[in-house]
Each structure stands twice: as C-alpha cells, then as structure tokens.
C-alpha cells in the first residue's frame, strides 16, 4: 500500500472500522481533517487529503487539492516527517513518546496544525485521542514509501 494515496487512507479507515469498539469508547469526533504531505522541495507541492470524521467513525476519505477550504484544520508536514511517524508506529505498535501527532505538531515542526481560527484548531485538541488511534492503525498496514 503506497503512501501517500487515497487507498492508503482508506485502508487506515478500514482498520478503524475493524476496531469500532475502541472508537466508540473514545467518543464522538466531528471534524473534517485535512492532511497535507509536502514534497521535500517545499510548500505548494505534494498531495493532500480530507478525512471526514462523524460520530464514532471516519466516514469518508478523499483526495483534494485544497483541504484548507473544507477542513476544520489541516495537518501539514513534509513527506519525510509523515514517513518517519508511520514507520515509528509500525515499529512500536503505536508511536513512541516522540512520534505522537501532538508531539510532532506542538512546535509547529515537523508537522503543523493549520486552521482558519482558534476554535477550529482546538478541535485537534478535543479529538486528539481519536485521531491518534486512527493513525495507530498504520501498524497493521504494509506501507510502501517512494524512497
């Protein structure tokens, strides 16, 4: 499964579906979450996706050129940062202390949270456990990276 592709995020969504009880216990998550994977060359390149969380589930995954137009917030980072995070989740059965979404985004580097306003950004804090659990599903995927 290649990263980043819609298929990869759909596989992640399927992983979440298989662990529905875990997500039920985590509670509602109502947010449109953008993911932007920047090419190493810098902003303006790369790929972007939209994950629509509704209730206990991620209900849709789609590719989009401009997730910031729809998403409540966008998690934006270089390809290498995403790759390292996914590899870390795979290697440890979940992120170690330095590879959780919150850890990686707190200083705004290597991944940053981009939102139209503070309340939208606060959704990232409100739903953090659900989002982390969603990405933890990567431990079950065989992810192929371009390099």
């Amino acid at each position: 499964m290649k990263f980043p592709t819609v298929e990869w995020f759909q596989a992640l969504r399927e992983q979440a579906r298989q662990r529905a009880e875990t997500f039920r216990r985590l509670g509602f998550c109502d947010a449109a979450v953008g993911i932007r994977v920047l090419a190493e060359g810098g902003p303006g390149e790369g790929r972007a996706y939209l994950l629509r969380f509704d209730g206990y589930r991620c209900k849709a995954v789609e590719a989009t050129a401009a997730p910031e137009k729809i998403a409540d917030f966008v998690l934006e980072g270089k390809y290498s940062a995403w790759k390292e995070m996914i590899e870390n989740i795979k290697a440890n059965g979940g992120p170690d202390l330095k590879h959780s979404l919150n850890y990686l985004t707190l200083p705004g580097d290597p991944i940053r949270v981009v939102a139209k306003d503070q309340l939208k950004q606060d959704l990232f804090f409100r739903y953090n456990g659900t989002l982390q659990e969603f990405f933890n599903g990567a431990q079950h995927l065989e992810t192929e990276f371009a390099a």
């Binding site: 959780s100 919150n102 707190l106 456990g129």
Partner: protein, 362 residues
C-alpha cells in the same frame, strides 16, 4: 382521655384517597393540554443515538431569550399556574448561553474516561529523582487548580434558570471532568514515590479571584478563557512533560476535556457580547476585567515552582534545564497567541491592549 392524631393528609388529599378507595380515579391528566404530543424525535445518526440536537430539532426546542417562569419545569411542559419562584438570578439567555453548548454536552458525555481504568498505571516505573520531583510538583499544581473548574460552575449552577438546561448539563460534565483531573493528578503524584509537593500563594490568590468573581461572565472569562486556556497549553505541552505512556495518556485525556471547556467559554463570551442589551458597556467591562486579569499571567509563568519543573521535564532532567526552557518559551508564546485568538473570535480584541509581552522575558 381520647386524643385526636392530626392527619398527615390535607383535606383535598383525603378526598382523593377516599375516591381512589371507591375505584374513582381523577384522570384529569389524560385530558390535559399536550403541547408536544405527537412529537417523535428522529435519530439523525442511529449509531450515535438520540442526541439533544435531535430532540431540539423535533419540537423547535431552542430556549427563549428571557423565559417568564423561574421554575424547574422542563421547556415544552404544561406548568401549574401557581408554581413557586426558584429564585434564579440568571434568567436571560445571553448571561449563560453559547451557540455550541448542545453538541459540546453530547461530546462531553461521549468522551468521558476513567482515571482508574484508562491509564496504564501498571507500567509506571521509578524515575530519576529530579524528573519525579518535577512531575510531582506539576501534578500538585494541577491537583490544586483543576477543582476550581468544578467549584466555580457548581456555585453558579443553581442560580441559572432551568429553561437553559443544556448549559447546566454541560457545566455538570465540566464539574465531573475536573473532579477526574484532580483524581488523576493526585493519583500520579502518589503512585511513584514522589508525593505531593508545594502549593503556592499566588496560585491560591488567582483561584480565589475566580471563585469569588461577582458575576458569572466575569468568572467564566477568568476561568474558561484565561485560566483553562493556559492550562490547556500545559496539557498540550504534556507531550513534552511525559516520561512514559502513563503520563502521555493523562495529559492527552485532560487536554481533550479542557479544550471543550475553553470552547464553551469562548463561545459564551461571544454570545454575551453580541446579545448584551448594552454592548458598549459590556465590552468595556470585559476589557477592564481582562486588563487586570492578564497582569496575573506573568506571575504564573515566572514562578520558579512552575516553570522550572516544566523545564526539567521538557528538557529531560535538571542537567538539561536550559534546553527545557526553550519549550517553556514556546508555551508562553503559544499560550498568549491562542488566548488572543480566542478573545478575537469572541469579539473582544485584546491585541492592541494586552499587557502580556509577546516574547517571554527569559
């Protein structure tokens, strides 16, 4: 001498009892008005269950701006004409409401957790003394400050008209959240050999200001927007404070709860300012409060009992306290920026007025 025992029943009650004994029932309630009869609230999302939004949507259940009654009678019910006045002081919507209150309540209920069950306590291992002392100093502080956000809503809850039941219900979830925060930080302090440490006069003074705020909006601003906004950044920074999975889970779960409270506070301030009958004076009042309240922020972020343990944890030991101060600087900058952003959303533009320095002084 024969004595007559006074009956516990009134004349009307006795009359009713006698009728029931004869098999005659009143049944007036079957002929009463039924303003919401036939309403069948539909589940928008069966997986989620029946939400307050579903119920409100089913019978136009939005609260009135200024309900006439001061009772505990539910919105939409038929009420006896001679019901007593409960003595509520908060009878106008703008004094308590926030437009996100209903989904926030549902979210709060759905995202509850247990400090006993959901933290992997069995993984806790001994830590170096400087790290353990730092964690315990921060846990002592958080054990101390978190319960204010239970006490404060509890103080005002009974004064809010029950017509605004969603606000009261949300504040009940907040009180439970904060009880759990006290619990989890007290447990952490006492679970790994470090124990409870020092409580500070400055902290107590700030908590006292919140608890004794003369109005709900003033206390809500101090607590939901300013205080919890600041603590939210500490919880978020918990990613750097955590030395293990236990602490990481604690800070993450508390962060989720705290962000809901801040969200209510921000949107309540917005509603208050937008719907106040004298918007100009309301704005002036809130600016005057913020002018004073912001003076307390440096007291928090220049206190060695607070920032030095933070720096030790963030740096990974007292030897690396300088490195940890980098992260403390980040918390200062982020806290200020997010606070100003939230004020701006609420319609209280503090950017040109705030006295909190943009850059930390160390």
């Amino acid at each position: 001498m024969a004595t007559t025992t006074p009956s516990i029943y009134t004349f009307e009650q006795q009359e009713y009892i006698d009728s029931v004994k004869k098999g005659r029932y009143d049944l007036q309630w079957l002929k009463d008005q039924r303003p919401t009869w036939g309403i069948r609230a539909k589940l928008k999302d069966p997986e989620r269950g029946l939400t307050l939004q579903d119920v409100n949507a089913a019978y136009a259940g939005e609260p009135e701006d200024a309900p006439k009654l001061r009772t505990m009678a539910p919105r939409g019910a038929v009420v006896d004409p001679d019901v007593p006045d409960m003595g509520y002081a908060y009878n106008e919507k703008y004094l308590v409401w926030a437009d996100n209150i209903v989904p926030l309540y549902e979210e709060a209920v759905a995202r509850q957790w247990s400090a006993t069950r959901d933290i992997p306590w069995d993984e806790l291992k001994p830590l170096p003394e400087d790290i353990e002392r730092s964690q315990c100093q921060i846990c002592t502080l958080l054990t101390e400050v978190e319960m204010i956000a239970s006490d404060f809503p509890a103080k005002w809850l009974w004064q809010m008209n029950q017509h605004f039941h969603e606000v009261k219900m949300f504040l009940c979830t907040q009180a439970m959240d904060e009880a759990r925060h006290l619990e989890v930080f007290r447990k952490r302090a006492l679970a790994n050999g470090g124990g409870l440490m020092r409580c500070l006069t400055g902290t107590e003074l700030f908590l006292r200001t919140i608890l004794h705020a003369p109005t709900y909006i003033q206390g809500s601003f101090l607590m939901h927007v300013l205080g919890e906004g600041l603590v939210l950044d500490i919880f978020r920074g918990g990613e750097f404070l955590a030395q293990n999975r236990i602490e990481k889970e604690i800070y993450r779960l508390c962060m989720q709860d705290e962000a809901r409270h801040v969200s209510y506070g921000t949107m309540h301030l917005k509603y208050f300012l937008e719907h106040h009958p004298n918007q100009e004076s309301a704005l002036a009042e809130m600016h005057a409060l913020a002018d004073v309240a912001e003076m307390g922020i440096p007291g928090f972020l220049t206190n060695p009992f607070i920032i030095e343990p933070l720096a030790v944890l963030m740096g990974g030991g007292v030897k690396h306290i300088d490195r940890g101060m980098e992260a403390v600087r980040l918390v200062w900058t982020r806290m200020r920026e997010e606070y100003l952003n939230r004020c701006e959303i609420a319609g209280l533009d503090r950017r040109s007025r705030t006295s909190v320095p943009e850059k930390p002084p160390y």
